[in-house]
Symmetry: C2
Subunit: 408 residues, 2 copies
DNA sequence: GTTGATTGTTGTTCGGGCCAACGAAATGGC
DNA sequence: GCCATTTCGTTGGCCCGAACAACAATCAAC
């Protein structure tokens, strides 16, 4: 607890050091093992400066130095590798889906060490879900190296999450209103670690940006198709959040004013056309299978006509997204993943029909590079964020004996 | 031309100095005369550090130190004021409207020194517009102090502007496609200064954020009603641009799929309902008065029924904007300004009807605090941006004898 | 084996912000 | 009117971190 955290718009030397330390760690986290020479080039700092930063991270047990990578080319002395330690810090990520919770222990560097899953019956109350999640957290943490610090917990929720405190304002699929899920989980664990809660689509965008299809892209949209439809947006390299964190609610864009009434009260929202219930109905699936829609679509090899027309509507709605955000990638997640695989032509046609051509020309539609783990990994990335801003402070707030504490 | 510009994600000492120098200047620019004590508090740096920065800016002739402000309260030695020099650097801002061009000489600090206007007849070719604008630029620059440096020119255009090079991709009202208007103006002036071109709505948002209604707000939308409808968005304090700079094109959100055909090719875009031509037609204005719609609305005291129903549609469309961006302010510019004055209740009702309540509760509708000058001042802010990033480099690129050069 | 290229290491230099001490300028109580 | 108090500007010394330079280590190419 050395220095008081300084505030203000100016930059001082402490801040420089913090920033450089965090940035170096982020590079290794993002791109895997890197030679010191590569880091020197990417960060634009002096060799000796990099050496100092690396040795400080080494002393913090965050990274380890490896012998030079084999298979490199070119003359000169080979540069030592810098990589994340296997028994280094980790986070716990929680992906709360429509009908199940996935919890994983994820190390710095994005490696998923352990994973546990449990079903969440429909209309379960928040505290019960919290207890279930806490149980899964205990499972995965029990498997961690005893000394490895737990940096924090990240939770992805399909709903509106207030950014200031992580309050879940409204999660229609879970039927939650104003639930402080973070506190519930911490209480169930009787543990005090940093916990962050975020919207699932936002977190999908985050992980695809950092280690998925959109690594080199600073403007992207991740479209989540769960039961509802939401977008996670990264623009200029930053998460689009809005004042309170509710930005990206594209599911309620007006698509057809004479359409069906949506649960939000309006009529003809895009969600009523391309959301899971609408697709399930078009395919005549039983209503209790809506949560499994993704798998059902995965199993199809050809698309019936009803599905193809929905794909066109997906494309038309995407045009609005493209016009508004001018992204270079739109990633189709959730049930849009198999839908896009089946009906790529229809989606593209719908998009082309409605999007303004300069924006249309700049965009590419893509599948999530991390498959079904985008959201889970995004929750991990969110929980890791503080360690890249200030490694020392973040480690100070971490829990170093998590397995013992949670077992007790 | 001292140092090569370093690149990379790391921060070095030069960068710290640049940043602090620019940030101090920005504070004085944003908030007017400030005491050194206030600057110390806001920037979180040491008194002596501030003293060093101030004296460096003083030597660059950017600011001047004034005797302590009168009317202050409290004990202690009064702190000297820091303010922008009247004969300090300035920019030239150009607001290219539908039927006229406004050019102004604007100093650091946002003071409009001189202003000149000329009509732009319909369907004038780009090079002719460039010549007209160049003439106006000569007029306003001729009045500047002979030694004051011209930092650059900022141009606001009602259309899609590519961010990488300022190319005007498409400006429907001017009937321009792929026009490099910056180069045209510079050629007409035979001058080489930094010139930046931006979208009018984006620039409206920028100036309202810096010195208008939204000074303390980091998430806002400026809705421009010219002939078309566009939005300038600032989110988390940053301009929303998208990969190429086309973000914010909300005018072509689908509002009624069975509506009128829009010039973009789609049907029932929001613009076809609340754009100037639609309002003019509803009011039975002659077609050549469309560009004057704002003034016509200004002169009205009560709103006819047709106008009220358009206001409702404006509110409904705003709901989409609010759901997507979750701003804390939406500023209604252009012809939406008088429309909102006349029909505040209808707009608000339309918004409430469709917006999701958490986002709805966070937002406030507002009139531009800078009135009709938002866009002009935004163009100035854009042109000034480099001087806040690196004052020394920006001054090196400035022209110090602009009046003489342009007169010759 | 020799040469050239590249990188790590070490010690030194440079520069920027911090700190403490002191003087200056105003307020307020007596 | 005087003096204690408060706040601020200035100055010189200090610390820290990045840059620089010289040297050693390592490998490729000839």
């Amino acid at each position: 607890m050395a220095g008081v955290q300084r505030v203000g718009t100016g930059t001082n030397q402490e801040a420089v050091r913090r920033h450089n330390l965090g940035t170096l760690l982020r590079h290794v986290h993002d791109s895997g093992e890197q030679s010191r020479a590569e880091l020197t080039g990417q960060m634009g700092l002096n060799r000796s400066t990099i050496a100092g930063l690396v040795s400080e991270l080494d002393e913090l047990s965050l990274i380890e130095q490896a012998s030079p990578a084999v298979g490199r080319r070119g003359a000169g002395r080979p540069s030592a590798g810098v990589r994340i330690r296997d028994d280094g810090p980790y986070v716990v990520a929680v992906d709360l889906g429509v009908d199940r919770a996935v919890v994983a222990r994820i190390g710095l560097g994005g490696r998923i060490w352990d994973r546990a899953t449990a079903p969440i019956p429909h209309d379960t109350e928040a505290w019960q879900v919290g207890a279930t999640v806490a149980g899964l957290v205990r499972q995965v943490v029990a498997l961690s190296p005893p000394e490895a610090p737990l940096l924090g917990i990240g939770v992805a929720i399909p709903g509106l999450v207030r950014r200031s405190d992580g309050l879940v304002r409204h999660a229609p699929n879970l039927n939650w209103h104003d639930v402080s899920f973070g506190s519930i989980v911490l209480a169930a664990l009787s543990l005090d670690v940093p916990i962050a809660v975020g919207n699932d689509a936002d977190l999908g965008a985050l992980s695809e940006h950092r280690r998925g299809t959109a690594v080199d892209v600073d403007d992207l949209v991740y479209l989540s198709g769960n039961v509802g439809v939401g977008a996670g947006v990264i623009t200029g390299g930053n998460r689009l959040e809005g004042v309170a964190g509710y930005a990206g609610e594209v599911g309620h864009l007006s698509h057809d004013p004479r359409g069906l009434v949506c649960h939000c009260g309006s009529r003809g929202c895009w969600e009523t056309v391309v959301g899971a219930p609408a697709i399930a109905e078009a395919l005549r699936c039983p209503e209790d299978q809506v949560a499994r829609l993704g798998e059902i679509l995965e199993d199809m090899t050809t698309a019936p006509r009803e599905l193809r027309s929905i794909a066109t509507e997906l494309g038309r709605g995407l045009a609005a997204v493209v016009n508004i955000f001018n992204p270079s990638v739109v990633i189709l997640g959730g049930h849009f993943l198999p839908l896009f695989r089946l009906c790529r032509a229809e989606v593209t046609a719908g998009l082309t029909e409605r999007a303004l051509s300069p924006a249309r020309d700049a965009v590419r539609l893509a599948l999530p590079g991390l498959g079904g783990d985008s959201i889970l990994l995004g929750a991990a990335e969110m929980a890791m964020e503080p360690v890249f801003v200030d490694p020392v402070a973040s480690l100070a707030a971490a829990v170093t004996d998590a397995p013992a504490r949670l077992a007790g």
